[in-house]
Symmetry: C2
Subunit: 138 residues, 2 copies
């Protein structure tokens, strides 16, 4: 396999992991979310302290989905490979629907995923940070 | 030079670039800020659309410093090297002081810097995203 073929395989594997995360978030699927993270990953949500380690990340999503349903779309993605690491810049749109009937909130923003190649050849998320483009209401 | 020596040299160069950015932000020094960015870098500030390219980033800092003074401290830093790329996870505290006398705002948060080795051997910022740990006031 040539170097460029290998890079295409890596990109495709990363895209599958991103798609798996997106589907799991939109399905409020805690186990599906947990599956994409490396054991020592760090989730860096806006307006919340960092969440360190796959068990804490799983717990974070469980709490989140008990309060809120999401409809995320990644509107662009750029992947850069760097050895056994990879960076993906994304832009997103999202509808955030609080359980209990409060009005949904539309959001638009951007994020950065860092992936690492695992011993079994799969790619898992090791860092995830994002923020909104919208001004904070004054 | 051994591989680990080379890694130490890279880490030290990245730390110098981070320190240069921090000093420039705290001095409201637009040219100092501009100097740390790669030409095609992307700045991803919270509650603002992404800012693409060194000229737009320079303009962004010029506008920002005309309205606001900052006192940032990086309270932790973890650097991981990946070939000619590197990423640095930071935590920060900040005091944001609007010009014109409005009360200062204290912030605490986290961020992710991506660096790339340049042709001249220096390391420049290519991506910078951060967000606050503080809940949005309801």
């Amino acid at each position: 396999m040539s170097l460029s073929d290998a890079a295409d395989v890596d990109r495709a594997a990363i895209q599958r992991t991103t798609a798996q995360l997106l589907a799991a978030v939109n399905d409020s699927d805690v186990e599906g979310c947990a599956a994409v993270w490396a054991v020592n990953a760090v989730l860096m949500p806006p307006h919340h302290p960092a969440v360190s380690g796959q068990p804490a990340i799983t717990q974070y999503f469980r709490g989140l989905f008990s309060r809120t349903a999401f409809r995320f779309t990644f509107t662009s993605s750029g992947i850069r490979l760097a050895g056994d690491s990879a960076f993906e810049c994304v832009t997103y749109t999202a509808t955030i629907r609080p359980n209990g009937g409060a009005p949904p909130i539309d959001d638009i923003g951007k994020g950065l995923h860092v992936y690492e190649r695992q011993q079994d050849g799969s790619w898992k998320l090791t860092l995830d940070i994002w923020n909104s483009d919208r001004a904070i209401p004054s």
